[in-house]
């Protein structure tokens, strides 16, 4: 069909972001890590900062982030991306520095690093992808795993006795001075995706204005280790996960809000 059409008669409405490389991402089908990536790439494009951006990849399914974003990248150790970002930003204050971290990475081993980067008001942006599970290592419990959720290390479902309680990162960070922007978003419909992108844009704007630390938490589907189809996964996010992790804007340096999505 394309052969019949003269493309010069058309103008682009949406094209692949310049902030993406051509590399094909290795996520499972239906995994929303890719969606989160795409939104970040679009925001970098729109803000026109790609060439001065440094992406800090973490350790999780998104470990190859450095292959996907078309900018300078540093691959950090598990949990330490905010410390690495601090080092980069202190040496290169003109760079736009962001980390991309999973919930195991950020909320388990790396909790101290993210809280302290926030308290230091480091001018960095954290993209926090919460899929309630350790994806890369094959589905173990994460701090964000929900009560009752079965994982490979909570085979009888997470309980107070086996695994303890679910950690809420945005709620925690909302108590830290030094945070300029803080929001939680979901990716389960086009409208919500646009809201998520809006939050990402605000987070980067906070950094560009030197307002301090910014973080956007994105509830993300891991169909593989949730043992669900993507549709079941999206429903679970909307109906179960958001009950523990309500979307919202927790801190906004332009005027603080607990605004809903």
């Amino acid at each position: 069909m394309l052969d019949d059409l003269d493309l010069t008669e058309y103008e682009p409405v949406y094209t692949r972001p310049e902030s993406f490389t051509d590399t094909i991402m290795r996520y499972c089908p239906g995994c929303t890590h890719g969606l989160a990536h795409r939104l970040v790439a679009e925001v970098l494009d729109e803000l026109g900062v790609r060439e001065r951006t440094v992406c800090i990849a973490s350790v999780g399914c998104s470990v190859y982030t450095y292959e996907y974003f078309n900018c300078d990248c540093v691959q950090a150790a598990h949990g330490r991306a905010p410390a690495v970002a601090t080092g980069v930003k202190r040496v290169r204050p003109d760079s736009v520095v962001f980390t991309y971290q999973g919930d195991g990475d950020l909320a388990s081993i790396g909790l101290a690093e993210v809280v302290h980067a926030a308290a230091r008001a480091e001018n960095i942006t954290v993209i926090f992808v919460n899929n309630a599970v350790f994806g890369m290592t094959q589905g173990q419990m994460a701090p964000t795993t929900l009560p009752g959720q079965v994982t490979t290390t909570t085979p009888r479902g997470r309980s107070r006795e086996e695994g303890g309680y679910t950690l809420r990162v945005c709620e925690l960070l909302s108590q830290v001075e030094g945070v300029a922007y803080l929001a939680r978003r979901v990716l389960t419909s086009p409208g919500r995706v646009r809201a998520a992108k809006n939050a990402l844009r605000l987070a980067f704007e906070a950094q560009l204005e030197g307002a301090g630390f910014s973080l956007v938490e994105l509830l993300s589907a891991c169909p593989t280790w949730w043992h669900m189809t993507w549709r079941e996964a999206f429903d679970w996010i909307d109906q179960t996960m958001t009950r523990y992790f309500p979307p919202g804007e927790f801190v906004n340096w332009r005027g603080c809000g607990q605004a809903k999505e």
Partner: protein, 361 residues
């Protein structure tokens, strides 16, 4: 101040001299976490780095400090941290990452008594950690062990050039004696900040260059092997260029004494006394521990009756000495572990008894 020789020298602690040496050597980014006996280093940096446009960041932990270094090194600087034994243990993963990412940095370890919390007394029991450490994998730090406050100052400055040249972590191995001892120091002038413009440096804009990736993940084993072989090549080059040691004492010794750092200071005095007692001893003092002066020791091993290794530990460097000697003559060890100092008097009696035993043979 000016001493009688007209030289301007300042009485300084090892910690201060180390910090000022780093600034003189071009250090502008320091990431640290307090721990005795090296607190004066981060404190000095917090006070003085801003004078030269530098940045001191107090990290939340030694783990974080190491990864701040990683980020800073990725951005093109040669960053620095300092700590003491337990903190250095916490840096092991990060040092391995520095090696995996092929990034340079400078790490100071003012060793204290261990294991565990131990104490803050002088000790040399981190020799293995310093020479076989840097976490998992085949890499290690280039390691240098000064033995005076002046040398600490100088090596602290030089370390930045060495780290940059070999693109490797450089460790300055001190101890609670060197850290806290005060001696006159001829200060180096403060040099320019080092350039950030390095082949691997991220940040600073993509204009006119490809994007850069600093990374230690190499899924394909053969690619990972290349990283290791590159690292080994840089080590081999350092091995050829950076072996440093000093010798003092008898020219035709019956006994070679090997000691480094503050223990070498003690040995130096004891060897003088031993000469008075008619013992022909010579001190070989490794300054570079990695690369180790194997060849120099091997040469003496052919000519002496005995090699005596002195350490403030249960015996760690003695293995490197044995690797150098390879059975050419007996290698004896004397050490104490956990903080008790070895005095020149102790050392003399060890030398005398060793010499006595050998003479009777």
């Amino acid at each position: 101040m000016e001493d009688r020789s007209g030289a301007t020298r300042k009485l300084m602690s090892g910690n201060e001299a180390c910090a000022e040496g780093a600034i003189a050597g071009g250090c502008r980014f320091f990431f640290g976490y307090p721990i005795t006996p090296q607190n004066a280093i981060p404190e000095y940096m917090a006070e003085h780095l801003p004078e030269v446009g530098g940045v001191y960041v107090q990290a939340e932990s030694e783990v974080a400090a190491t990864y701040m270094m990683l980020g800073a090194a990725a951005a093109g600087t040669i960053p620095m941290t300092s700590s003491s034994s337990p903190g250095i243990s916490l840096m092991q993963e990060g040092l391995s990452y520095m090696l995996g990412c092929e990034l340079p940095c400078v790490v100071v370890n003012m060793v204290r008594g261990g294991p565990g919390l131990g104490n803050i007394a002088p000790s040399q029991s981190d020799y293995w950690l310093a020479t076989r450490g840097a976490g998992h994998g085949d890499g290690r730090c280039l390691t240098f062990a000064p033995y005076s406050v002046q040398e600490l100052h100088d090596w602290s400055a030089e370390a930045f050039q060495v780290a940059a040249r070999y693109r490797l972590p450089v460790m300055i191995l001190g101890d609670a004696v060197l850290a806290q001892m005060m001696e006159p120091v001829r200060l180096r002038p403060r040099g320019e900040a080092m350039s950030l413009d390095r082949e691997w440096a991220v940040g600073g804009g993509l204009k006119g260059r490809e994007r850069r990736i600093v990374n230690s993940l190499w899924v394909v084993p053969e690619v990972m092997e290349q990283v290791n072989l590159r690292m080994k090549a840089r080590f081999d080059q350092a091995e050829a260029e950076m072996v440093r040691f000093e010798e003092v004492g008898d020219e035709e010794p019956e006994m070679l004494v090997v000691a480094y750092g503050s223990m070498a200071r003690v040995a130096e005095t004891a060897i003088g006394w031993a000469a008075d007692e008619g013992i022909r001893a010579r001190l070989l003092r490794p300054i570079s521990l990695v690369p180790f002066p194997y060849a120099a020791i091997r040469v003496w091993a052919e000519r002496v009756r005995l090699v005596l290794v002195l350490e403030l530990s249960l015996g760690q460097m003695v293995e490197d000495v044995r690797l150098a000697v390879e059975g050419r003559c007996p290698v004896e060890f004397y050490g104490r572990a956990g903080g008790p100092l070895i005095t020149p008097e102790d050392t003399l009696s060890v030398i005398l008894s060793m010499a006595g035993v050998r003479r009777m043979l």
